[in-house]
Each structure stands twice: as structure tokens, then as C-alpha cells.
Symmetry: C2
Subunit: 422 residues, 2 copies
């Protein structure tokens, strides 16, 4: 690899390879066919007719030379705040290798101008023109029960062996988790601890006040509703934490009791229906924080947050809904009755068969679902009619997405064709 | 304890104690002197002249009888969605013990009316009238360097021995962490592992891609800027995680090298200055998500979030600012230059001596600070002039606040006078 700093420009750039100080691959079949300075930045023309515009400040900030990025840590060392307020470009050109070379204006009179090189694949991948941002946009794939008989028909399904033994199987499992928010894994050995072993394919699990993993069985002195045989309304787990666990893995060791079927609801679908049918209730639930709490001998964990969290563009970030963790509402008087009405309306959708899937887990099967999006519940069961034993644990979204990126990194370095995980 | 269900009303309520199914104490010197049904709820008069109003639906939802709350798990079993849409109250009265008794209207003709009892202390603590909400309101205590010489003069300070050996010392340490966002602990043994032992007074630490704890030393092949001797601009840690760690504990084992002083900035103060002086920049940074990323051989963790996160009332939730974890900005073209300008303006405040404290940690001292609020940095140091060794770990806010509540629970059960942690 050839690493450039300062104003040095090699005369022969045919064999150049730009060090992006980046472990990810940015493969592209596209070449830059033209580059010119314009309007405080650089206009880049691609060989497929697309055009990108990069601002001077953005290019300067993203220079990956060994002075601007730490050679080992790969982190930015360049301090924009010490650069002139107006960053200028003297020259932009396409290298013989089809990459981009930019010579910036000297920061101070007499200084050598800074030269940056940008890999074409990296640039294409990071282009922020409208067309490129639209191509990269990701949306969760929403679902409900319409047109399907109750059961697992709709749930993406993967095989235990593929997930445990192959990169492709692991990527398929995690991609379904990310995009659909739910995935069934089957044909695992029906043994305690197997859920944690599967989670180990991703990374460390997220510990909570219930430990690193927990046994969902009927107990004589339960500290939580899950550890009773009573039915559980659709809910998200640990809504009383500032940051509830992202993904839940629920592994079935045994399910022989009468009852105890599972319930799954895409909370984003249900909340979208609320937005459509009762915009006032939706506005209230997506702005007014409400109170959640769990207490036992060892902890008292409370948090206030809206039931529906949106980003500034109005897209769903998360759902919090849990009747038994909801604490006494602490709201301005005028909002108490409207908030109860709104919660009730949303609750109605969560109970509506249109939105529910009702799979029944068998021993050796595991559901993984997005706890910020997919609500889960269960029918009551009779512990006198047979054994019911689930084991649960949680995974951070950060680590799930990181694992997908590492799988992609490895696939690219092994030269497989590109597709799948973004 | 006397637990009430159904419509049963004891004739002698003088010795009554209401089971709130709550492990926290709600002590009050106040008594209810009057209660009447009005406007779809109950008006309660207190002996200090205050008045509370509780809606019928709120009271019904918070009934703590053994049918409405699980006797062991203490979680709500009552399902509002199965109750009539309009909840009515037949009768409200003050018990001889000064508590509140409510008899609801029968849900269906012929049903016995449901009776709920509410402990006066619990009610007073959960009253949501404007005056009560104002009394309970909590705000972080903001700070800057004005009027103080550089140093640790402003930083709340606690003694190692008190924190390790007494409940009061532990509560004082955690209360300062919560309210000021920074606290210095001193006179600890200057030994590796001591920071983790102190953290153990709260609960399990938060693991990240850097492990459960990490050594801040200059390394030959660093995977992060912290592990070099270079200066670090004020920053928050792990801004590339969806949920960066809440509190950072930075324990000083040795600090003998030239340079290496610490820098602390109350990010809420600096951001408030931005809101005052450049509202446009503030609006942009508090709404437009920007990109963060960390990568090494084992992970590639990315997240997009606004640099300043506000709640719907405009109060600060968190600050994310980290120059070396900031990834290539992926913004609509028109926002690129304004976002860079806004980041630069905020950065200017973070660098401004008005906002900076510059303590120098000595061996056996530990800084704990709120990583969602307080930015930290360091001056460059020369590893050839002496040893510099810090050890860091992280604590979840949920567990810090939970520990404070458990300390308060224990203090109340031991009958000490009430003050301190909320």
C-alpha cells in the first residue's frame, strides 16, 4: 500500500492503492472519469453517468493520510478547529488508477498545500448526493398476520447447524433479526445453555438485573410475572431500563404443559396503525414520557420514556410497552386521561389478531426478536400438565451489527461475490 | 400487614397498615383530612392545606390489592383494557389511620364494587398536581470554571474509606455523580484493580468492546487514540455506540510523566451557551444525526445520533462529541457545511477555558463522571519522563440510581432521618 502525506505526488500512479485506514472493503465496479473544483468543493463524474459532489470541508475532514489519521488506531488526528474557517481546493484530478486526488489551498502563506487521495470505492460508498443516500436507505420490513393462518408460516427460519458452523448461516440469521425483527432457529439440541452457546456466535450477551441468562419457568416465589404460569400480554422486556436490551433470544428446552403458546406482534406495524387511525393518541404516546419500574430485594430500576420513540424524521426508534412494569403515571393532570385512553387504544391493536403471530415453540427451537420493536407474550399454561422451560438472554444491537460487518469484511477479503448485509 | 381485596371493609381501621406492594418507604408527616368524589376522580385534602386530585382511572390502575398486584412479584396484574372504558367511583373516604379508601362503581350490573386502599405517604409521594410535580423536579447542577482557579477546587470530593465502608459515604459519592456529573475520590490504595473494586460497591460494570476495564497507557500498537501519548480534545467515550456507557470511573495508578493533566467540561453548560449564542447551530446539532464509528480487528461499531440529545421538553438528555470517532458525515448536501460550522462552534466552547476544569490526578485518586454529559480530555504527555497509568471502567446509570434507592430503602428501614437521595 502506498500512503501519501503532505504535497508529495508520485509520478507513476498506475499501481497506486490508496490506504483508506479502514478495515472494511468498499468494492466498486465504477470508475471516476472526471473531477473538477466547483462551488466550494469537487464534482466527481462516474463512468455510469452518476455525479457526486463533495464539499471541501468534508474532503479535508476525511483525509486518510498518516498525518490526518493515526496509522495504527486509524482514528482521526486532524483537528478541524485548528484549520482555517474557509477551506479551499486548488486542484482536483482523477488518478490513473481511477481514484481522486485533491490539492487543498495552503493554510498559511508559504505552507505547502495538503494533498489527499480518496479511493474510488470508498468515495462511491460515502457519496451523500440524494441518489446515493436513497440507494443506501434502510427500512425495517414490517409484518402482521393478515393473509396467514396463525403459526410460524411468516417467521423467517434458519437451521441451527448452519448458524453454528457457517458464516453464511450466521449472516442469514442476523440479517433476519435486523430486518424482520424476528427469526426462528430450529433443530438445536434441546439442552440448557444452548441459547447462550448460540449467542456466543455474536459476542458477549447483555447482562441485566436478571443475570446473563434467565430461566422462564413457574417458580414458587417469583420476583417477576414471567416466572409465574399466568398469561402475559404482548410486551417489551425491561421497559424500566433507560436502554432495554435490544435483541432477545428465547430458547425452548421443553414445552410440554397445556397452554403456553407464544405471541408476537410487530410493534412498528401496530404503532403505524395508531398513527393512521388516531393521530392524537400517537402524538401523545410518542412525546409524553411515562413511568416504568421494577423492584425486588436487589434493585429498584426506574425510567421515564415515551411508549413510542421516533427519530426527528418521524421514523420509529423503539416501542416500550409493559403493563406490569408500568409505574404510577406522573403526568400533568390534563394529560392523565388522554394518556390512559391512548395506551388503551394501542393495547387494543397489540391484542388484535390482525397483528399477532402465535407460534408454539418446540424443544430445540429458539426465537430471536428485536425487543425495541417486536412485542412478545404468552398464553397462560398449566404447570401441572407438563414441563415448560425456556431460557432467555439478550444481545446488544451494536454487537449484532458489528458481527454482520465483520462477516462481510471476511467475505470480501475472501473474494466472494458481494450481496447481503449492508 | 393487612391486605384488602374485593369489597371487604374492616370495621376497625385504626391499626390498619396498607400493603402498597412496594419495597420503598414513603414516609410522610402529612395526613389526609378529607376526601370527596369530584370531576371523575377524588379530591384529597392534606393537613398542611395542600390539595391533590387523582383521576378514577389512575386510582383503579394503581390499586395494590392482592388481586390487582401479584403478591410476590408486586407487578400489576390488573388489565385496564378489560375494564369498562369509563371508570366511576361510588365513594371516597378517609380511614381512621389517615389513608384513602375508594369504592369504585360496579364494572357489570350485580358485580361487587372493587375497593382500593391507598397509603397516605404513597399518595403524597405520587401526587401529580402541579405543586407536587414542581417539588419533585430534578435538574442537573451545572458548572463551569468561572471564578475559580484551574484545578479541582470545584469538584465534589469524597474519601475512599467512607465510600468503601459506609452507606452514607457511598450515597454521597453517587449523589454527586448524579447531580454534578463529576466527583473526585481520593486516598485509595494506588493499586491496579482498585477502580473495579470501588465500582463493585454499585454493581456489575458495563462491558464494552474494550473489555470490562481498560488500561490507559501508551502502547506500541494502539487500537485507539487513548492508548497513545497524544493530547485528547474534550470528548465523550464510545460515541459510536447506540448507548454509550453512562458513568466513567478513571482510576489513577501512576501519573509521573510530564504532561497528562486532565480536562473536564460540563457539556450541558457548553451546549446551553450554544443555545443562547447560536440557536441555529444548536437546532441543527440537536436534531440532525451525525455518524460515529470505531473499528479494529474484532469489531466495527457504528451509530448515527445527534451531537446533542434533548427530551421533548427541551431538556438535555446527552452529548456525543468525539473527533476521532466521528465518521464521514452522511448528510443531505445542504446540511454539510452548516453542520461542520455548528460542530466547530460547539468545539470552540469545549476548548474555552471558561468551561474547562484542569485537575491533575495523583496516584490513588479516581474521577467518576457522567459520560452522557461531562466531556473529558487530557494534555499530551511524554512517556519517556515517567510512568502514566490510568484504569477505567463504566457503570450504568440505571444501576447507580438503583443503588441509591436501595441505600435509601435501607436507611428508612433503620429509621434514620430523611434527606439526601431522592
Amino acid at each position: 500500500m502506498l500512503t501519501m502525506t503532505g504535497s508529495e505526488i508520485p509520478s507513476d500512479t498506475r499501481a497506486e492503492a490508496i490506504d483508506m485506514r479502514d478495515l472494511a472493503a468498499y468494492p466498486t465496479d465504477r470508475r471516476i472519469v472526471g473531477a473538477r473544483c466547483e462551488e466550494g468543493g469537487v464534482i466527481v463524474d462516474w463512468d455510469d453517468g452518476r455525479q457526486s459532489r463533495f464539499h471541501a470541508v468534508w474532503l479535508r475532514d476525511n483525509c486518510a493520510c498518516s498525518a490526518c489519521r493515526h496509522p495504527q488506531a486509524m482514528e482521526r488526528q486532524f483537528l478541524l478547529i485548528d484549520a482555517p474557517e474557509r477551506i479551499t481546493i486548488q486542484e482536483a484530478q482523477t488518478t490513473l488508477g481511477g481514484h481522486l486526488l485533491v490539492r487543498f489551498g495552503a493554510e498559511r502563506p508559504g505552507d505547502a498545500p495538503h494533498v489527499s487521495r480518496f479511493d474510488a470505492g470508498w468515495l462511491r460508498h460515502h457519496c451523500y448526493s440524494d441518489w446515493a443516500r436513497a440507494e443506501r436507505a434502510w427500512h425495517p420490513r414490517s409484518w402482521n398476520a393478515l393473509g396467514n393462518s396463525p403459526g410460524t408460516a411468516l417467521i423467517p427460519t434458519v437451521e441451527y447447524k448452519a448458524v453454528m458452523e457457517t458464516d453464511a448461516g450466521l449472516a442469514e440469521w442476523l440479517t433476519a433479526m435486523r430486518d424482520w425483527g424476528v427469526v426462528l432457529l430450529r433443530n438445536a439440541p434441546a439442552e440448557p445453555g444452548e441459547g447462550l452457546r448460540i449467542a456466543g456466535r455474536v459476542g458477549p450477551v447483555r447482562p441485566t438485573n436478571f443475570g446473563t441468562s434467565y430461566d422462564v419457568v413457574s417458580m414458587p416465589n417469583p420476583n417477576a410475572s414471567a416466572y409465574t404460569p399466568i398469561g402475559l400480554e404482548p410486551h417489551t422486556d425491561l421497559a424500566n431500563w433507560r436502554w432495554p436490551p435490544d435483541f432477545q433470544l428465547l430458547f425452548c428446552v421443553a414445552n410440554e404443559a397445556e397452554g403456553g403458546g407464544s405471541i408476537l406482534v410487530d410493534g412498528f406495524s401496530a404503532a403505524e396503525e395508531l398513527r393512521r387511525c388516531d393521530p392524537e393518541a400517537f402524538d401523545l404516546l410518542s412525546t409524553q414520557p411515562i413511568d416504568f419500574r421494577f423492584q425486588d430485594e436487589t434493585c429498584d430500576i426506574r425510567h421515564r420514556a415515551p411508549a413510542i420513540e421516533l427519530d426527528h424524521a418521524g421514523a420509529f426508534k423503539s416501542i416500550r410497552f409493559n403493563n406490569w412494569l408500568r409505574a404510577a403515571l406522573d403526568l400533568p393532570e390534563a394529560k392523565v386521561e388522554p394518556t390512559y385512553r391512548a395506551l388503551r387504544t394501542l393495547w387494543g391493536y397489540l391484542r388484535d389478531p390482525r397483528f399477532q403471530l402465535r407460534p408454539r415453540l418446540a424443544a430445540g427451537e429458539m426465537l430471536a426478536f428485536d425487543n425495541a420493536r417486536v412485542l412478545h407474550g404468552r398464553e397462560p399454561f398449566d404447570p401441572n400438565t407438563g414441563r415448560r422451560h425456556l431460557q432467555g438472554c439478550y444481545l446488544d444491537r451494536d454487537l449484532v451489527l458489528s458481527r454482520l460487518r465483520l462477516l462481510e469484511r471476511r467475505r470480501m477479503s475472501e473474494g466472494e461475490p458481494k450481496s447481503g448485509p449492508r
